[in-house]
Structure formats: structure tokens, C-alpha cells
């Protein structure tokens, strides 16, 4: 019964179709808004597109985008990690402590990342093994890890070690952090779109029963994504520490976690799971960065600044959810 098949409305060909397809993508509206913001800030303040400011902008963008890469994978399979910002703060102290014991800096970096991976594993095992919602598990871990960081650091900042080449690669060079972010985005995009791991992550979030019936090992995928998120959180913390040159026990925190989650959601990742893109996380992060940096240049009062950012995030998220509905998909 060929004539009964419902064809989705297919628009005209050529440029119009290309534009239509582009606008249907979850990332499209964010790219359009970001471009508009860049134009606005450049007009309002001639310094926006200078080399120095683009460098600053890249630093605003890099950290939330790397965090978003992990959170997007978790959100897609219907989990979340609230403690990633605390792992961010812990990782550099772990590195410094291991280094103080005599391990060279590169090995200390690996040791710190391994410890972060272990934290992710613990979060995953508690969440899956004891059937605790990850919201609760990671809320607990949030406090636990803060305490751990404060204990290890005794509440004092420290400074990073390492030669110029290593610290350069790890964040001191002007654009090294954003390059890290772009490489991680590229890798995670391939993982999400072109590997079984990514496909199964989406399947779990979309229909966990169907995924189980197909024989997908749900626990392995979920725990793996917790490990990934914590490790990326730790890496981001290390990059920021090297860039700034000092380690702050109160760095990162819930702020960086929310920026990561917001980047993902603004970029089209469904809070309810089953849908999302890494590229969306990147453009979401860029939009937040443009806002933060643009308002800073404008010299807006810090209190007003948070209000504006809050409203902007809300508007972007609401727009995204409703545009998703307009697109006619079941994703929200």
C-alpha cells in the first residue's frame, strides 16, 4: 500500500532546502543567536573581535565545552553528574601531591586522571549497583569531593610545576585550551555518531527496555559514561590550573558544571535523554562564552551580569525545547 505511507513534508530543493535542513538542526538556532550576539558586541564595543579578546573568549568557552562533552553523553542516557566541577578542583591537587612524592609531572597528570576515572567508576557503581538516581549519588559526591579537596589542600592554593613545553601544551600557550577542547569535541562527536558506544548511549536514553531486549549492556555503557565525565572534568581542571599557574581549592565547582550542562542543553541535548549532539554542546558553549565575555567587555555590574546570564540560559533552553516540538520530533 504505497499510497498510505505518510511522507514527511519535504521542502523544495537547492538553496532553500539546504537552509531548511540547516534550520531544522537543533544547533542552528544557537548558531544564529551566537552570530547575532557577536555582531551586537562588536558594534557596541569595537574591541570584541581583537586578537586579545578572541583569546579571552576562547578561554571562557573551552572549559564548559569539555565538561559538556561528558555531561551530554550522560544526559543522553538519562543520567547526570553534578560533581564534575568538584573533580575539576580536586584533579590539580592530586597531581601536585603525587608530584611532591617524586613522580614527574607527566606521570602525575596521568595519575590524577586515573584517580578521576576511579571517582567516575565509584559514582557509576553506586548509581547502577545500588539503584540510586545519579542526581542523588553525585549530589553526595559533590560535598564529599569538596571536603576531600579542602583536606588535601588544607584550604590553601598551590602552584603548578612543570617545564615550559609541558605547561604550554597543558594550557599556558594562548590557544592551547581551546585546541584541547576542539580535539575532544572531534573525538566525542565521532564516538557519539560513529561508534556502537554512542549509538547504544542514545538507544538507552530513547528506550531502555528496547535497548535491554536488543541485548545492549546498559550498565557498562552508563558506568563508562560516568568514568568519561569525571575524567574529562579532571582534565579540564588540570588545563585551567596550568593556564592560571595556580591551583585554587574552590576553582570550578557547581558553576562550571552548570555551564557544561547548560551548553549541552542549549545546544539541543534533551534533559529527558535519547537525543543530543556534541557539536550542539560546542555551539552552546560558544554562545555562553560570547555572552559572558561580551557583557564583561561592556562593563556590566557583576550582580546584573548573573541575572542577564541566567535569563539568557533560560530563554535559550526554553527556545530549544519548543523548537524541538516545532520540528515535530518526540525529543524534548
Amino acid at each position: 500500500m504505497v499510497d498510505e505511507i505518510k511522507q514527511p513534508a519535504i521542502p523544495r530543493r537547492g538553496v532553500v532546502k539546504g537552509l531548511y535542513d540547516f534550520l531544522l538542526r537543533p544547533e542552528a538556532s544557537v548558531i544564529v543567536v551566537s552570530a547575532a550576539l557577536v555582531i551586537y558586541f562588536e558594534l557596541a564595543n569595537q574591541n570584541f573581535l581583537t586578537n586579545a579578546n578572541v583569546q579571552t573568549l576562547s578561554q571562557f568557552v573551552a572549559a564548559p565545552v569539555i565538561i559538556a562533552c561528558g555531561e551530554i553523553m550522560l544526559l543522553i542516557c538519562r543520567e547526570i553528574d553534578l560533581s564534575v566541577g568538584q573533580v575539576f578542583a580536586l584533579a590539580p591537587f592530586l597531581m601536585e601531591n603525587v608530584h611532591d612524592f617524586g613522580l614527574p609531572v607527566p606521570l602525575a597528570i596521568f595519575a590524577a586522571l586515573a584517580a578521576c576515572a576511579l571517582i567516575g567508576l565509584i559514582i557509576g557503581l553506586i548509581t547502577i549497583g545500588l539503584s540510586v538516581p545519579s542526581f542523588i549519588t553525585t549530589l553526595g559526591m559533590l560535598f564529599l569531593i569538596t571536603g576531600l579537596t579542602l583536606t588535601i589542600s588544607r584550604g590553601y592554593p598551590a602552584s603548578t610545576a612543570g617545564g615550559p613545553l609541558l605547561t604550554g601544551i597543558m594550557g599556558v600557550w594562548a590557544y592551547s585550551e581551546i585546541i584541547w577542547a576542539l580535539i575532544i569535541v572531534a573525538i566525542m562527536h565521532i564516538v557519539l555518531r560513529h561508534t556502537r558506544w554512542g549509538l547504544h548511549t542514545v538507544a538507552i536514553g530513547g528506550n531502555i527496555i528496547a535497548a535491554a531486549e536488543a541485548g545492549i549492556s546498559i550498565n557498562r555503557i552508563k558506568i563508562g559514561n560516568f568514568v568519561l565525565t569525571s575524567t574529562l572534568g579532571g582534565l579540564t581542571g588540570l588545563l585551567e590550573a596550568f593556564r592560571v599557574g595556580s591551583i585554587d581549592p574552590l576553582a570550578g565547582g557547581s558553576n562550571i558544571m552548570f555551564l557544561g550542562v547548560a551548553s549541552g542543553v542549549i545546544g539541543g541535548t534533551a534533559i529527558a535523554g535519547g537525543a543530543g549532539t556534541i557539536i550542539g554542546g560546542l555551539v552552546g558553549g560558544i554562545m555562553l562564552g560570547v555572552l559572558q565575555d561580551g557583557f564583561t567587555l561592556q562593563g556590566i555590574n557583576a550582580f546584573t551580569f548573573d541575572i542577564v546570564i541566567g535569563v539568557a540560559i533560560l530563554v535559550a533552553m526554553i527556545a530549544n525545547i519548543h523548537l524541538a516540538r516545532l520540528r515535530g520530533g518526540s525529543r524534548a
Binding site: M1, V2, E4, I5, K6, Q7, P8, I190, H194, T195, R196, L199, H200, V202, A203, G205, G206, N207, I209, A210, A211, E213, A214, G215, I216, G274, A275, G328, G329, S330, R331
Partner: protein, 254 residues
């Protein structure tokens, strides 16, 4: 020849859950190329029977034969290994994924090389072929399953089972909650599969007229027993209704 060699047979299968007897010694069989309809009210034991054939439940007593050999279906995987696949009502499809991703869910084809990347192109090609082969007409296998109608989704689920080498196909109420045109889509699909002659189909159904139209043979289940069996040609919806009505009267009188 069609309908001559036995595909699957259940012998005096008993299944109890606590004090409830779901199946009180049920015997049934289906041949290759044959379609059997199982009719009956809710709680008659239809689903329990299907779940024993898929290895989801294990019988308390009785035996199951596949290809004439006694088999023990200790798990769903055991049944799958023998080519028994069930399309449940929930269909087990992921709405947010494309048709071809659903058809290859957890059986993905990978490109050569150490990166083990998904071979989207080959999966698209094979999914299109598989759907065309059994006559499911879909504009593109890249469409998300969530955008399809109920009948199309059902067809995809059936196509997936067939593609994964199902020889004994169990359909759990494939026509439930489906409009006439949608049902037509499935009825024609089942007829095409039957015409291949190498697949045995068992379907649970509620609608007597539709079941008689699709199936070669029907059995009526009541209270965990098969109370009536006939070829579709030799009975009618009226006769089946009458049997069920008689039963109601007996229950009310008793």
C-alpha cells in the same frame, strides 16, 4: 510442501504462578509456511504460552519441540539461537533512532579498521534491501522511527525479526489499536511472509474476523486450555463468538 513439516510443537505444557494455573496442559503445533492464530480473552493464557515459546518463561511440565527435536528453552537467547523471535506489543524500537539503526540495534555493521566505526552506508543499504524484500515501503531508512505510524513501526519490528533470521515468528497482538488501513499493511506483510513458505508464524489476536483472514488455522484458548481448534476455512467468526458466548453462559449459570 507448505504446511507439511512441523516447525514448533508444544506438548501438554503446564505453567502455574503461585496458585494460579496459567496453562493447564496446552498442546499446539505450527508447520513451516503456516500461520496460526491464537484467540482468547485476557487471562486465557495466550501470553504465557508465547512467553514459554520465546524462552522467557519455563514450563512446570510438558515439552517443546523445534524441527521435531525436543528442546529446552532456558532463556530468550536459547530460543533466538533456534530462530524463534517474538515481536512484542511494545515493539522494542527506539523512537529517536533511524529505521536502519533500529534494524541493526546491537548487531551493527562496522567498517574495517582498528577504530571499529559504524558502517552507516552498508547498514542503510542492507536495511533498504531487507525492507524491499518483504515489501515494506518506507520513503527512506534514515527516517526516525518516532515519525512513523503505528503500522509502519510494527512492520519495521517484524522486518527486523525476519532480517535477524527468525524462522519461527511470534507476533503479540500485531493488529491491536490499529486502524483499518494500518492493519491492512500488517496483514499484507504477514501474507507475504507466509508465501515464502520457510517461516512459521504464531500470532496472538483479539479480532476474530481479521485473524481468520490472515491465518491458516486458529485455536481458541480459555482458562489455560485450548478449547477449540480449526482451519480458518472451516470456521467463522460467528462460530467462534458462539463458543465464547456459551462459555459465558456456563460461567454465569455455574
Amino acid at each position: 510442501m507448505k504446511g507439511t513439516t512441523e516447525a514448533i510443537r508444544a506438548e501438554r505444557v503446564v505453567k502455574t504462578f503461585g496458585t494460579i494455573t496459567a496453562l493447564a496442559g496446552v498442546s499446539m503445533h505450527v508447520s513451516w509456511g503456516e500461520t496460526l492464530g491464537i484467540l482468547g480473552d485476557n487471562g486465557a493464557g495466550k501470553s504465557t504460552l508465547i512467553k514459554i515459546l520465546t524462552g522467557y518463561h519455563q514450563p512446570d511440565s510438558g515439552q517443546v519441540f523445534v524441527d521435531g527435536r525436543s528442546v529446552e528453552l532456558a532463556s530468550v537467547d536459547d530460543a533466538r539461537a533456534l530462530g524463534i523471535e517474538c515481536v512484542y506489543q511494545d515493539l522494542a524500537l527506539v523512537n529517536g533512532l533511524s529505521i536502519y539503526h533500529n534494524m541493526f540495534l546491537n548487531r551493527e555493521l562496522l567498517r574495517r579498521g582498528p577504530l571499529r566505526l559504524l558502517d552507516h552506508r552498508e547498514m542503510r543499504r542492507r536495511a533498504s534491501e531487507a525492507l524491499a524484500e518483504i515489501g515494506v515501503d518506507i520513503p527512506s531508512v534514515e527516517v526516525e522511527v518516532g515519525a512513523l505510524s503505528g503500522g509502519q513501526r510494527q512492520a519495521i519490528a517484524v522486518a527486523r525479526a525476519v532480517y535477524s533470521k527468525a524462522r519461527i515468528l511470534l507476533l503479540d497482538e500485531p493488529l491491536a489499536a490499529m486502524g483499518a488501513r494500518e492493519a491492512r499493511l500488517i496483514i499484507e506483510l504477514v501474507e507475504r511472509l507466509r508465501a515464502r513458505g520457510d517461516i512459521a508464524i504464531v500470532m496472538i489476536a483479539h479480532n476474530y474476523a481479521q485473524t481468520l483472514e490472515i491465518c491458516d488455522r486458529v485455536v481458541l484458548m480459555q482458562h489455560g486450555e485450548i478449547t477449540f481448534e480449526s482451519t480458518a476455512a472451516a470456521t467463522s467468526a460467528e462460530e467462534l463468538l458462539e463458543i465464547v458466548r456459551r462459555e459465558y453462559r456456563a460461567v454465569r449459570a455455574g
